[in-house]
């Protein structure tokens, strides 16, 4: 059978199968018709648009429309797509990466577009099993399945996704409580006025906002009934959703020499400091001189443009990543979001 070509060839590897990764792959293919291009994604799902998931939950978008590209797309563009395969380590000196099943893959260029995974603050880890997060397709399906049976939902933490989900919940006629505290808008911590504004917007929508409260305990009464304590207040809800933002899926990069904070630290050209290694999407954290602060980009449109820029720079260009969308200022990082404005 046809084996993959020998290692020494040009081989671009993209880790991640989100908007950034796919855009990067496509850009590379357009620029370099000959190169080997491989996309590796830990998820088993094929490419979908995560920002549509709330609408999917709301029932305003059918499942198939959430998917972005058919597998045919990868065949025609000769992009090797590897689903359900996890990268566990990268060796930048040898320029190869190690997959969970102990395969080693050489790369000549690498783009990290791994996105993030839901974060649960350490103090809440004890309740982990009782909290429902919202990131992947299968998360969304879990929500739908649960929402059939419950009509009251508590959102804790509060982040950009939570606003969209809340919108969906309201459309479904659910009763929504919202414990909004300084953890809101992870991966960033906001100035008070920012989430006062958010609290205001939420209450306008008929959400019961418990401002500045801390979640103290969650206990399961039965499958669809939970008792919650937020500071002194105690009440029951059918489902508790945790929205403490995303932590980038970069554990596997630890000790690889890449400096990881909330995401992979990159310069304005999205370069990681290693030749031929770039990061894009919301796992990339850039210090931006205009804003005089670090920022991460959230949302589909930003991801796409970053993916494109990373790919072009990998091929030798020197484009600078410009923040788009509305900027929320916060104490240690800024966020550029292309989609919370419409809330």
């Amino acid at each position: 059978m046809k084996k993959v070509r020998a290692m020494h060839d040009e081989h671009f590897v993209i880790i991640g199968n989100g908007p950034a990764g796919n855009q990067a792959a496509l850009t590379l293919r357009q620029k370099v018709p000959e190169a080997r291009i491989t996309m590796i994604s830990a998820e088993h799902e094929r490419f979908y648009r995560p920002h549509l998931l709330p609408d999917f939950v709301a029932g305003t978008i059918p499942e198939n429309e959430v998917y972005a590209a058919a597998l045919e797309h990868y065949r025609t563009h000769r992009i090797k797509l590897r689903l359900g395969q996890r990268v566990v380590a990268v060796d930048f000196s040898k320029r190869n990466l190690l997959l969970e099943h102990k395969e080693t893959v050489r790369f000549s260029g690498l783009i990290l577009a791994v996105g993030g995974k839901p974060r649960i603050p350490e103090p809440l880890l004890v309740f982990r099993d009782l909290l429902l997060t919202f990131k992947t397709f299968s998360d969304a399906r879990k929500w739908i399945e649960r929402l059939h049976r419950v009509d009251s939902v508590l959102i804790v933490g509060g982040d950009l996704t939570s606003l969209a989900v809340t919108k969906a919940l309201l459309r479904l006629g659910k009763e929504v409580r919202f414990v909004l505290n300084e953890d809101a808008f992870r991966p960033v911590r906001c100035k008070p006025e920012v989430f006062q504004e958010a609290a205001h917007r939420l209450s306008l929508q008929g959400v019961k906002v418990l401002e500045g409260r801390k979640l103290r305990s969650v206990t399961r009464i039965n499958e669809d009934l939970f008792e919650v304590t937020a500071d002194r207040e105690r009440f029951r809800v059918g489902l508790v959703g945790a929205f403490f933002g995303l932590v980038p899926h970069v554990r596997f990069l630890a000790r690889s020499g890449l400096t990881i904070e909330r995401g992979v630290l990159v310069d304005e050209t999205l370069n990681t400091g290693f030749e031929g290694v770039y990061a894009a999407g919301d796992c990339a954290q850039v210090y931006h001189t205009h804003i005089r602060d670090y920022w991460v980009s959230i949302g589909h449109d930003n991801a796409v443009s970053l993916g494109r820029i990373a790919a072009l720079n990998l091929l030798g260009e020197k484009m600078k990543a410009e923040p788009k969308g509305e900027t929320i200022l916060c104490d240690d990082v800024r966020v550029n979001t292309s989609w919370w404005r419409d809330f």
């Binding site: 380590a89 350490e122 103090p123 400096t259 990881i260 904070e261 630290l265 400091g273 210090y287 240690d332």
Partner: protein
């Protein structure tokens, strides 16, 4: 005609000839130990880790403890607060082999479960030699112990009211219970050491007097002067140094800290301070660091426990000044960013111009390390009052005056200090008596057993049980957070140790190259080799592999890859694989060995 039937009696001779023991000081063997027994060579005090783990597995807790004690003096203490350089090097932590053995906590188990009282070993009868040791911290205690052991009369001077140094005044009780500390210190003092507490060199007694009254003096006074940031506002009320905070805590005179506390610093002390602040009523505690989390020197457990208690970690910022009029109100920071790599392979960090921002705070703890106190030397010292001693030196420019521990090396870890104290003791004893009492060498003993079952390689790492944050843990600062392994947990964890002190080897004179061993090998640890590369000491540093049958000159076991599962020994048709137990040990010479 004697035809062997199909069912011969299984009478394989069970007689095992007495295992040969050999001691070696060969450089090549030393190199071998460094490469192939990573944990022991990773330990500054050279603790014989595989040996004590094996003992613990066999529930011989006293022996396990003793093996520790001979090397690191304070096993019970280290089993809790050691910085664990060994675990970073544990082969079990190698890629695809899972996570390191929980070496440190096994050490603690040995101390928790030992029954016998501590009986410090005496190497030789007491003699008419005396020494004064200044500072009863880890280094001083270690030195005192070793010198007393060889019969030298030791006087231990301690400026504080009680011995222990940083162990007592630098580490909070919730990490190191005082009874544990006391027990092990007492055991040392029982060796006939005279302890004078509250006795400061300078005010109470001069260095010259000490030199006159003793054959030698060892300065192990540690580092007790907190370093400062050298930024405006540091002297404002509400700004504490990490060390002072710890000492105040121990002295039960910790000031009110307020709601919001910022800790500047990234070491153990910074974490101790942050967690202490939380325990004394602060609501919102954050540790501000210049780099990122992955650059911390503290253990992952430490970070996790801190976060679990609710402490925030704010990376990539460096303080530029402390704000406030008559009391500190906040800190102004600059953002930092990584730029290129330093010689140490870590990223270099630089502050970004014009990126100032402010974080408000009620108290600010500066925990950026300490330096030695200035000292009244005869003839004075250098600018910061220290003597000129190059890091290697222990003997100072003043005859019969020696230095050791943090005082010599600058701030270091406890295990390093202990190792340094012992090193000093050895040199001093040698120069006072002209004899060598201890000699580090490689002990080799033939053995048949591989002592392990293959399935043990798959056991998960035992995690240290802790008290949950809610309740006593955060209310009472004296509640030890880590509750220690149970006997079962301990020996489960002990099973995981590969026992790297076993050396596997193929005898080429008998090998028939049948590759049976390679067939059963758990990983690429046995190799078809065409050539072997040595270093100048004659130690094996490289195996040249080949897949070409004609070029296969040898089948060689690569002990740096071997996980000692023993499968190869079990299958070898011609029994040409030998197992040798090799350990770096201290040989004791009762009467002491003269030079030459």
């Amino acid at each position: 005609m004697k035809t062997k039937g199909a069912y011969p009696a299984e009478n394989k001779d069970a007689t095992v000839e007495a295992p040969a023991v050999a001691y070696s000081t060969d450089a090549a063997d030393a190199y071998y130990m460094d490469v192939n027994v990573p944990c022991q060579s990773g330990c500054p005090a050279g603790t014989n880790i595989p040996a004590y783990i094996r003992c613990l597995f066999e529930h011989r807790y006293d022996e396990s403890y003793q093996i520790n004690r001979t090397a690191n003096i304070l096993p019970g203490v280290l089993g809790r607060i050691c910085s664990r350089p060994c675990e970073d090097r544990c082969r079990h932590g190698e890629l695809e082999l899972g996570r390191p053995v929980n070496i440190c906590h096994i050490k603690r188990a040995a101390s928790d479960f030992r029954r016998a009282p501590l009986n410090p070993e005496r190497i030789s009868p007491s003699m008419e030699k005396t020494i004064a040791i200044v500072g009863a911290g880890p280094a001083g205690l270690a030195a005192a112990h070793d010198l007393a052991a060889v019969g030298i009369k030791v006087t231990l001077l301690e400026a504080f009211d009680e011995p222990g140094g940083m162990l007592k005044y630098g580490i909070p009780r919730f990490r190191l219970p005082r009874d544990v500390l006391k027990a092990e210190i007492d055991a040392i003092l029982e060796m006939g050491i005279k302890l004078k507490t509250g006795c400061r060199v300078g005010p109470d007694v001069s260095l010259q007097e000490l030199l006159d009254q003793h054959d030698a003096v060892l300065l192990a006074a540690g580092c007790y002067v907190p370093r400062d940031l050298g930024i405006p506002g540091e002297k404002l009320p509400g700004v504490l140094t990490g060390l002072n905070m710890m000492m105040d805590l121990e002295a039960r005179r910790l000031p009110e800290l307020g709601e919001r506390v910022l800790v500047l610093g990234a070491g153990f002390t910074a974490f101790d301070c942050a967690r202490t602040a939380l325990r004394s009523g602060a609501e919102d505690v954050a540790i501000c660091i210049r780099r990122t989390e992955e650059d911390f020197t503290v253990t992952e457990d430490e970070i996790f426990q801190a976060k679990k208690e609710g402490i925030r970690i704010l990376p990539l910022m460096t303080s530029s000044r402390i704000l406030g009029r008559d009391r500190a109100e906040g800190v102004e920071f600059l953002r930092t960013r990584p730029v290129g790599f330093g010689p140490d392979g870590r990223r270099r960090i630089e502050a970004i111009e014009g990126s100032e921002f402010v974080l408000p705070a009620d108290s600010i703890v500066v925990a950026v390390g300490q330096k030695p106190a200035p000292f009244p030397f005869p003839g004075g010292g250098n600018s910061d009052g220290r003597l000129e001693v190059s890091p290697e030196q222990i003997q100072t420019s003043i005859s019969r005056l020696y230095v050791a521990g943090d005082y010599r090396t600058g701030p270091s870890t406890v295990i390093e200090a202990i190792a340094d104290g012992r090193e000093a003791a050895e040199r001093i004893a040698e120069s006072l008596t002209g004899r060598i009492f201890r000699q580090t060498c490689v002990r080799q003993q033939d053995t048949k057993a591989t002592d392990r079952e293959r399935s043990w390689d798959y056991l998960p790492r035992q995690e240290m049980p802790t008290v949950e944050p809610a309740g006593a843990r955060l209310e009472d600062g004296a509640v030890e957070v880590e509750t220690g392994f149970s006997r079962e947990q301990a020996s489960e964890e002990a099973k995981r140790c590969y026992l790297c002190y076993l050396h596997y080897e193929i005898d080429l004179n008998r090998c028939i190259y049948c590759r049976y061993c390679i067939d059963v090998a758990p990983r690429d640890c046995i190799k078809l080799v065409s050539r072997i590369h040595l270093n100048d000491d004659g130690a094996v540093v490289g195996l040249e592999e080949t897949a070409n049958w004609r070029e296969v000159n040898a089948v060689v076991i690569d002990n740096s890859r071997c996980i000692r599962c023993g499968e190869c020994v079990r299958v070898c048709p011609v029994d040409c694989i030998s197992v040798t137990r090799v350990e770096r040990v201290e040989r004791i010479h009762e009467k002491g060995a003269s030079h030459a």
